[in-house]
């Protein structure tokens, strides 16, 4: 779990249980993510990956335990949670990344507009400023959300399945951005499914199937035994489950 690393902690989980309607999606999570980590979160559907990211981002509150953040986070939600039928354009979507620095009602200066343009250029969306978000492809939408992260400029980035429905070229570009951010010293936590990609690009992994199956160096986590164990997690809630009595 906690590595023998000199780097200070970015996020500490103190016996954290996250979930809905008393059913835990993440159960008694304990451990520390160090600053500058490049961590892949993987596991079966319903294993608690998205719930964990929502918990860290503050979108949901833990049922139990505490999440200690030492730095601000920026969060890229799953694209399915974004209402793309809403009539706003790419520029405005990306400019939302200015909110942490400018506030919900703050004035956006000409310099801020330039930052938006630069972020769009960085993700390869020059010329898309005026396009309605509803007309973007899956890959273009992810590029726009990456541009929003760039503007948020937080030390910790949380990304929920950023490479879903994305073609190879886009995936390669976006992974390049993740690599850059990692080199800048940011803490990157990404939900992913592609094992080969995780082995290649992510030094650390967290295998989550409601309980932590394994957490540490990716090679040690992504073993056949661990993956088998994760696969056996029951997907359905047991409606008659007894109250958990693990020490709080």
């Amino acid at each position: 779990m906690t590595q023998a690393s000199p780097l200070p902690p970015a996020i500490h989980f103190d016996n954290v249980t996250l979930g809905y309607d008393r059913h835990p999606a993440v159960h008694h999570l304990e451990g520390t993510i160090r600053q500058g980590s490049l961590l892949a979160v993987l596991g079966p559907n319903g294993g608690g990956k998205s719930t964990l990211l929502k918990g860290i981002s503050g979108a949901i509150k833990p049922l139990d335990g505490q999440i200690h953040l030492t730095q601000p986070v920026a969060y890229l939600p799953q694209s399915a949670e974004i209402d793309r039928s809403f009539p706003i354009n790419v520029f405005d979507l990306v400019a939302m990344g200015l909110i942490p620095s400018r506030g919900l009602m703050g004035r956006v200066s000409r310099k801020d507009n330039e930052r938006v343009t630069q972020a769009l250029a960085k993700v390869g969306l020059v010329g898309f400023e005026e396009r309605a978000i509803g007309t973007l492809s899956g890959g273009q939408m992810q590029r726009a959300l990456f541009a929003r992260l760039i503007l948020q400029d937080a030390p910790i980035f949380l990304l929920d399945e950023p490479l879903t429905a994305v073609d190879e070229k886009t995936a390669a570009d976006l992974i390049g951005l993740l690599r850059d951010w990692h080199q800048q010293g940011r803490t990157i936590i990404t939900v992913l499914h592609d094992l080969a990609l995780i082995r290649r690009e992510f030094p650390e992994s967290l295998l989550l199937a409601r309980d932590v199956i394994a957490w540490g160096a990716s090679d040690a986590v992504l073993t056949e035994t661990n993956l088998q164990r994760a696969r056996h997690m029951a997907e359905a809630h047991d409606p008659f489950a007894a109250a958990c009595e693990r020490a709080a």
Partner: protein, 290 residues
Amino acid sequence: MSAYDILITPFADYGFMRRALVGIVALAFGAGPIGVFLTLRRMSLVGDAMAHAILPGAALGYLVGGLSLGFMTAGGLLAGFIVALLAGALSRISVLREDASLASFYLISLAGGVVMLSVKGSNLDLLHVLFGSVLGLDNATLFLLVTASSVSLLTLALIFRPLVLECVDPEFLRSVHGHGGRVHLIFLALLTLNLVSGFQALGTLLAVGLMMLPAVAARFFSRQIGPMMTIATVIGLLSGVIGLLISYHVGLPTGPAIILTAGLILLGSVLFGPQDGILTSRLPRPHLES
């Protein structure tokens, strides 16, 4: 009959027509943008529910203070805010979705209002509350209409960014701002304010019409939220002016004439609107090179 006689004379000759015009302009400016947000948030029927919710409050105000603008407005606002707050709170702390809790509370509010009136034994004439009196707007009512729409526009400008964000990406809003959820309540308060001021002119039920019909029509003119709100306001203004004139020349009841005009404009927009109109989108158009 010249165009001047048809379009200008009624307003030049009669004070009540000029007052009606001012009232309608105020309503269109306040209600149009709110209506656009309602349609975009798939809450088109919430306006109607809220109109029912404020009805008993207004009627109770009438019962206590007679045909007093202050009492009826206060009663309507109070009933609307209470229903909106309770519905919002219940959907957050229980498994009920907001539409279910809103439907429950407005029905309870409506029934409660009717019971209170019957216990009082009053033979209350609800016609005024139901259908308004756009041709009988006095100074105080005009002042209320203009104030409500100014407050509404200014508040909407202030909360515009978080409100859009709440519609597009609520998880993101919560991650960048802990109190983002409150913007929804402020929006419901603005909705109530517009409906309460609208019932003075058009009545509770038709006030929703001037809010929703132009907003729905605006979708057929633009895919951008800013232009949509402007277009909805312009359609509201046009419906108001044309409706007033039809009502004057043909002798139709004013509120329904205004709403039917808005309905006709909506029909035209659905068919011929430049953005996805049913007939316009079937016109053969060459596709572009890239």
